[in-house]
Assembly symmetry: C4
Homo-oligomer: 198 residues x 4
Amino acid sequence: MIGTGRLEAFSDGVLAIIITIMVLEMHVPRDPSLVSLRPLLPVLLSYVLSFVYLGIYWNNHHHMLHVTTRVNGVVLWANLHLLFWLTLVPFVTAWMGENAFAPVPTALYGAVLLMAAIAYYLLQLTILSAEGSDSVLRAALGRDVKGKISPVLYAVAIASALVRPWIADSIYVAVALMWLVPDRRIERALTGRMENAR
Amino acid sequence: MIGTGRLEAFSDGVLAIIITIMVLEMHVPRDPSLVSLRPLLPVLLSYVLSFVYLGIYWNNHHHMLHVTTRVNGVVLWANLHLLFWLTLVPFVTAWMGENAFAPVPTALYGAVLLMAAIAYYLLQLTILSAEGSDSVLRAALGRDVKGKISPVLYAVAIASALVRPWIADSIYVAVALMWLVPDRRIERALTGRMENAR
Amino acid sequence: MIGTGRLEAFSDGVLAIIITIMVLEMHVPRDPSLVSLRPLLPVLLSYVLSFVYLGIYWNNHHHMLHVTTRVNGVVLWANLHLLFWLTLVPFVTAWMGENAFAPVPTALYGAVLLMAAIAYYLLQLTILSAEGSDSVLRAALGRDVKGKISPVLYAVAIASALVRPWIADSIYVAVALMWLVPDRRIERALTGRMENAR
Amino acid sequence: MIGTGRLEAFSDGVLAIIITIMVLEMHVPRDPSLVSLRPLLPVLLSYVLSFVYLGIYWNNHHHMLHVTTRVNGVVLWANLHLLFWLTLVPFVTAWMGENAFAPVPTALYGAVLLMAAIAYYLLQLTILSAEGSDSVLRAALGRDVKGKISPVLYAVAIASALVRPWIADSIYVAVALMWLVPDRRIERALTGRMENAR
């Protein structure tokens, strides 16, 4: 059993790099005019969307690891598995942005989000299993409605992307907004536990 | 409520990457002659300017978080919002440099600086709200003249960039110099508090 | 003698960057069609393979440093030597992927893996020498079968790559799977020692 | 006065990124043949040289900060100034490598090394001034022969690069080897101090 420090540090490093190199896909236009920025607008929009998603992952990861006391080899690999799917975000973001939210890139974007959501769920399972059933995390998650509904919404988005990409994009935005509401569950559970301990 | 450690680590990571990947925009010339470096001069100058700005942000961020004792979900997102605008710095730096400080890129550069300044101000507000009114940070900021004057100067610079870019560039340099004077306010407030505590 | 903290932080940083910039070699296709992704398949496959290898290195490095109590200058350089070979992984990964596992790139991929394995072995030796013969690490390694068999398998793979690349690729996958089994040796040795100490 | 932790973390981040993105300048050849790697040989050689130099800087920085107890605003900026010159290393490394050690790029490489050496010296001065004259660092540095001779050698190399680049390259290698001998001065001074304290 190993502390969570280095796992957090490594994940932070990877997330910080992913979030930053996405900007490299916004290629600097040659012309110094405002008009030349216009084709970059969808690229910027898809960047904003992915920035928010990665921020959500960092935030939730931060909260989850905060109440995790120990990790084992399986947790380390479940974490790397999550990071793997997140490293593909810059690729699908750029492809979707450069093609102005065309059907196939929009569907692939959802597929990567879906895989990342599944990977996050698996990571959660491995941590819960290492922590035991009376852990703070177990209490904090409750019924984990958001975690269960997100993959379903991504699946709907992927299907609709091929016929009406704007529906898929709206779903991506809606899911992000749903998560943006800060995850107070863990903070609440922690406070509750501390109060119970008195 | 959560400690500031991982927030600092993540912000450091993103700032370190932003500051370093800006160099990737200085494309290596094919010719091994001194003359071939000349078109890179404005790119280098804009890089130096942005490096100093990011250094200022890192420095001030460092000082602010140093006197912050706890963060909540809102602070985490206010921090991500600041990082978002800072990740756009490499893009506007390259565009301004490659077009030798042309009007529109120079104005956009100021716009990103303006948005980052506003984001920093919002981050400060959220931390102050989490810390309470008798916090060290509250005392340290005082009237926060620099923080209030900078956005005004950026706005002036954006307007003047479209007619006389060199005025805007001078303002950017002047604001940077104004901030370069290390922020002794917090150090002073800390010392004062410690003396009062005796 | 110096603590291991900053060595771990620096290694984590380099490994996180290597693992993330590899994705930049998956060039975004111009066409928004599924067909245009097909040439990227070998690139993706080689990326997955390298991601797993870097994950293994991070994992083993993590475990090894976890039971290391102090490092000296020689260890710092042995660690940099390992990082040097690992920084070449994105290059050989891209070359192998873009050429769909052609003989020479596949052989060079194995050569970099071989050099990294040797560098890891040297790092282990320098740490063992700094720690002393009754260290936890010494006990944990045991006969270190995996560490000794891997270079041999890489050498076989390099030779076979030039005639039958798929044999080499299969060996790379097999070695990765062999290591993927989490390294419980150190965890076991730690537990054993703690039990002995009672 | 502020602790050294975040200064080290930020510097580690920047150094880790510099050392890793240099590899991105080794452009993957299209052809899967051994011959197509040949033009990359000078690029690889210049990469190895710069990797060793950045390793030396990281090592020395690590040792210096290890015996530093507090930093102030001036130290933070002296550190950023050093990082600035080091961020230019990937640029000059690529230019020198891609032009097979031609005169002007080789001279510019030396100029960046010279500026980095001066910046390191200034950083050392500001830390010494913050630490006081009876600090461990003061004792550790002794006469600081290496630190004083390196800039002279770089200046000689820059001048000779324009007529005989290979002389400059030999000097760069020689200076690197001179520093590669691990800096036992600080370790010795620390040991000595601890022995005196008994």
